[in-house]
Symmetry: C2
Subunit: 476 residues, 2 copies
């Protein structure tokens, strides 16, 4: 079986920890390990890493690859989408890629940001699903509901499939129900949550797309032909200009809406696997153990008289007094305090932040770059102070700035610095000044992390004040 | 009349904004202006600045003087106490100082950290009090209660004083009552809140101290003889070693307990002056206007569906959702989230922090020094990053460090740097390195604020790693 992990989250529900540039699947929301790392880990008993593929947004590709590198993930098995077009198109492109290589390929589709606590039951359900998929079924796992949830779609169980004990036809897909209906489903016992895991032959889903979503299907070959390996490191798949235009012009449809609700070939395998979609901060209540007062507390927190609250600190000290059913999530540049009842509104809050052009709505305080990251520590009318971390073996572009000079002091590791015609090797406690307009480059050719403190000085300090002359990540 | 402002707050109730080193009276809790500045401002129509005295803790003296300098406050009118010994001793020492200079001195005593919204009524009450004080009364202002408050002491009104309309004998002082008693007081109408404002002849209070607190009174002359002007700038009064020992050995008593509750000379002037002791974050509800949902919101805050809450931000963005009767106070290094019901427990929380050796319990993130301030911005295993602000005309001590080198970059203003035998003049965008063991000194001889970014580097980074050779603030 091949594995396709869909990792296109927008990072709004777990604000301020998740941001558009660092969404939920790349965070340790339910650690240890980020959610996408745990998703890969969970599949490894069944699917070898060479058979795994990931679809993600272009601006999340490099960090995704970095997180999956320890598993031996193949860089050009990652497809970076030029924009979000929901699951139908992403699945179609992946299926088309696979069928071109292996006409009988069985393809499992997995969200990158869910929790499954019973991995063994999960793997067993997938094995059962694989045998059905070989027969042409579009197989989906159904989670036995534990509460009258109105935030999920449901699957209604039909007749058992002949010779496949514990597998059923699906009588119908149901959109998110209202509360009384959800209560009825829970009582009836023959409704399951749709958890977004699908197993099918790549050729089967293409056939179904052709039948039910011809506008998408008709473009898939063209789009796959436009895939190319990205320039420079790390070499993932991306679309050329033509492909990106085709991709962007297609409708944004979920695979459920485009195919599953319409197909007669859908099979259901009930799977009691400890699944949780971790859809909001409230969900931590279901996946973490609580203290005797019902609290989940992490970080440098002093709590008195608090009950049923979620308090998540980072570096700063948090004192909490007399809170009930409250969520407090701290981050270096932004803070959330919400009643649990309003936890679904975090998404709305972030949308408002973005509308109002608050950078904290999208950009995290530590900004990831192909070569490492930077964090703004302080700023004034004519200076900006950053901590810059350069990963082992990585190097920033050869660049210059029109409006600022930079002072670098190495505080950990060793730096290789090119400044105009000269090359410098700086170790910790050594400094260098980069004047305005000087062509310069910062690199780390050692095996340890390089940390420098940068003081930018100038009257016009802007990330866009950069001329790039050479870049190993194709950003020239 | 002379004014004595008692400014010895411990800074626990308004944590995390107030800390032991920067308590409530030095903060803009009810701005504009800090509370001690507003106290001085309020008294100026009646008491000229040359006749004002301040008692405070030794570690708050320099910042207090800096805040009062714009009013022309005389530095050696500030008495820095070696430790906290409550109001009886502080008042006794001040009275003794005054009577030595002016045997008929009238002395008004004022807490530094209260709010009075009706300044005109306040001044009128003080004027009336002065005439009574000249006749030998210990006069106190009584605030007409507006709620059955159990956190204050009460004064029971006695008979009107002959020829002094609107002034009364005090039948008795009452300690903080329980709720039913407080309700009864409110209903009866002849009980007033004791607001800690007293007006008397310095000689009268000394006579009463002699009668009711002889152990304190007997030491006052000795202690006053031990007062000396502090070495170096800024020249306030402090006790020499002998005086500090005497001072510290005396009991910690309030003037209410030591004298007022026992004296027969107490007079009461009811004063409806818009008084508020601003005793906890909840008190902001009484002194600030609220938005239509009953919230008081300051800083970079996005609030949705919040009611009757107090949200106070600083630099970071705060998103709040669905909060009711909740207090959120952010600061660079610590955060408070409390239900309003628990707002009195902030004091307890800070005590716990101090017990557990959390530096955030005592020390603010921006640490004041005689020459300016520093703020820690970042740290790692072998580096510490600070923003250092040096006030115009000020200079740090001539010093050296055994275990660290320092890199300084000027980002605003001009620096005068001595490094061993050399002197450097650095302007913005210029850097210098101070090696381990080098004797060095940083100064600002210009009229603008100097801001430098300091990177300390070493394996042992500690504020105590400092040898001082010369210091204009007497810290050698």
């Amino acid at each position: 079986m091949y594995g396709v992990i869909l990792a296109g989250g927008s990072g709004t529900r777990f604000w301020p920890i998740s941001r558009e540039q660092s969404p939920k699947q790349l965070q340790e929301i339910v650690g240890p390990g980020t959610m996408i790392q745990n998703t890969v880990q969970r599949l490894l008993p069944l699917i070898s890493i060479e058979k795994m593929y990931v679809g993600t947004k272009h601006n999340q590709a490099i960090e995704t690859l970095r997180q999956l590198a320890p598993y031996g993930f193949v860089a050009n098995h990652l497809m970076a989408e030029p924009c979000s077009r929901n699951t139908a198109l992403a699945i179609g492109v992946m299926a088309q890629m696979m069928v071109d290589k292996d006409p009988d390929a069985i393809m499992g589709v997995f969200p990158a940001d869910h929790v499954v606590t019973n991995s063994e039951a999960f793997i067993k359900a997938l094995q059962k699903a694989e045998t059905l998929a070989r027969k042409g079924y579009l197989v989906t796992l159904g989670i036995p509901p534990t509460r009258p949830e109105t935030g999920f779609g449901y699957l209604k169980q039909g007749a058992e499939i002949e010779n496949h004990e514990g597998a059923y036809h699906v009588e119908r897909f149901v959109e998110k129900p209202d509360n009384p209906t959800a209560k009825q489903y829970l009582k009836q016992g023959n409704y399951y949550w749709n958890c977004g895991v699908f197993i099918w032959k790549a050729s089967s889903i293409l056939k179904e797309l052709q039948q039910h979503a011809e506008n998408i299907h008709s473009q898939l070959k063209t789009i796959v032909d436009c895939l190319q390996t990205s320039k420079g490191k790390p070499g993932h798949q991306e679309l050329n200009k033509k492909g990106a235009d085709f991709f962007s012009a297609l409708p944004s449809l979920s695979i459920d809406y485009a195919v599953m609700e319409k197909s007669s070939q859908v099979a259901l395998i009930p799977a009691d696997i400890g699944w949780n979609d971790v859809g909001s901060w409230n969900a931590l209540d279901e996946v973490y153990e609580k203290d005797p007062n019902g609290n989940i507390i992490r970080g440098n927190v002093l709590a008195q008289d608090c009950n049923n609250s979620i308090i998540q600190g980072q570096n700063r000290l948090i004192g909490v007094l007399g809170l009930n059913d409250t969520i407090v999530v701290d981050s270096p540049d932004a803070l959330l305090v919400s009643s649990k009842e309003h936890s679904q509104d975090v998404k709305k809050l972030v949308e408002t932040l973005i509308e109002k052009n608050h950078p904290e709505g999208k950009q995290p305080s530590t900004v990831k770059r192909p070569w490492g990251s930077y964090t703004v520590l302080d700023s004034g009318p004519s200076y900006l102070l950053k901590r810059i971390e350069v990963l082992p073996g990585e190097t920033l572009s050869l660049q210059s700035h029109k409006h600022r000079s930079e002072h670098w002091t190495v505080v950990s590791g060793k730096a290789e610095v090119i400044r105009d015609q000269e090359t410098f090797h700086l170790k910790a406690n050594e400094s260098i000044t980069i004047p305005q307009n000087a062509k310069h480059r910062l690199g780390n050719s050692e095996s340890e992390l390089l940390i420098i403190i940068e003081i930018q000085f100038g009257l016009h300090l802007d990330e866009n004040d950069i001329s790039r002359y050479e870049d190993r990540y194709g950003r020239c």
